[in-house]
Symmetry: C2
Subunit: 269 residues, 2 copies
């Protein structure tokens, strides 16, 4: 059994969270404060560990549940930061958004945005006004799974550092290069690769030969791809429907197209 | 322009919502009250219209935004119910869960659960302890798209009538036959069809020949298929990974497997 008090006396200055820290962390729930402070909150074991392993992300503060400490003592010991406190479920649930499985909350510095590189021989995702943070997080997690490296977001897409995006991404933000751009300008500057757009009225995915390298545009949950961006789309693609429905969830559409692209490269038996 | 006052005087008794109705609707946000009253709340244009067109669902009360009335006057006129009130964004946002696009909230009677029929020549979804209501809703919407008719849920899967499930399902609950069962008993009674389970350690989906008719088991978001149910699985299947990640979102996994099953029936070009 870990002797918490001894461990904390040895390594850290405090083992109760100062009130001003609770206040500081709480205000990072709001976008304007995150933007001003250039810091964001990360919750949950997998997410925090994914960011810990990426040198671009600097963890500044940690509130950890005793169960996290018991499981990941080495990680905690390896950190040179002073702001680590033990927190119970009450504190963690108050500071975070999760409703179960409280383990850890981290305050992380936003990294400098990397240089935009469009990878060759890959699909690059382009998100046009994705509004639901859970959807954006799921899309990033899916993009990572299918080996996508770069994700372009329209300026009106939900903020990358929204805690619900981070949560749903399950660590994917540590793996991806995500850029917020003015989409019309972006399309004008990057028109050498095919631009494919997911549209219910498009050509069925199963009847076209997906290129190895392309932009895949996924539109807003209610309104699809913005009419201003439609002229830039070289090919509209649709996911074949075998039942009933008007559309699929944006994350689902992304996954099905990515899967289809990958199995086309490595055909079915 | 519609003359709201005239329209309401002619057809309905009230045009302001009585306080006791607001109270009644609000308490249906809680599961125990929904279960007691055998009623649930439906929000949003598409969801309410989908249920309106299905005779199994009886709409009891409607709070509508003037914009919904303007767009769907015929639907409102066709209803024989007395409890219809106009509501502004303040009332609709207070009674519902949506954060934008307030149009309509309906109180709907829970239908009697249909006889459980396992369709031949189809995939039947089996959900083992899906906890996130958004995930369950998205899975139902996806199931509908891929022509699945029956969905089996373990007793500990999130409630079908949770407003977030209804919202994310985008009307799919009106199309599907959903049953909550004791899963071990169910598997014992229905072992004549192949039972396939989505597992990260399974055989890659791309290397197996999916049957035309099978059960597809999707496990809990954090813990996968419950160890008690693993012995009933005839074949574990995995979604090939081309990048990085430990797992995919439960809805994403469902969609990719369903897509793969359908394109296997209608092969790729």
């Amino acid at each position: 059994m870990i002797q918490y008090n001894e461990f904390f006396r040895e390594k850290f200055l405090f083992n109760t969270i100062p009130k001003n820290q609770i206040k500081y962390i709480s205000q990072l729930k709001q976008k304007k404060n995150r933007t001003e402070e250039k810091k964001f909150l990360v919750e949950g074991e997998k997410n925090v560990i994914a960011l810990y392993h990426n040198t671009r992300y600097i963890i500044e503060t940690l509130i950890i549940h005793p169960s996290f400490l018991a499981k990941h003592k080495k990680i905690i010991q390896s950190l040179s930061i002073k702001k680590i406190w033990l927190g119970d479920a009450v504190v963690l649930s108050r500071l975070g958004h999760l409703t179960t499985n409280y383990q850890i909350i981290a305050v992380v510095k936003m990294p400098i945005v990397e240089k935009l590189i469009i990878p060759k021989n890959s699909c690059t995702l382009v998100l046009d006004n994705i509004q639901d943070p859970g959807n954006l997080g799921t899309i990033l997690r899916t993009a990572c799974w299918y080996g996508i490296q770069t994700v372009i977001c329209s300026k009106n897409t939900v903020e990358l550092y929204n805690p619900k995006v981070i949560q749903a991404s399950m660590g994917a933000i540590a793996q991806l290069s995500v850029h917020y751009v003015h989409l019309s300008n972006f399309f004008t500057q990057h028109n050498t690769l095919p631009i494919l757009g997911a549209c219910p009225q498009g050509t069925p995915l199963t009847t076209i030969d997906l290129p190895d390298s392309f932009f895949l545009v996924i539109g807003n949950e209610s309104h699809g791809i913005h009419p201003e961006h439609i002229p830039y789309i070289h090919q509209k693609i649709a996911i074949p429907k075998y039942g009933i429905g008007n559309s699929l969830n944006a994350g689902i559409a992304t996954a099905v197209i990515c899967h289809h692209w990958r199995i086309k490269q490595t055909p079915l038996i």
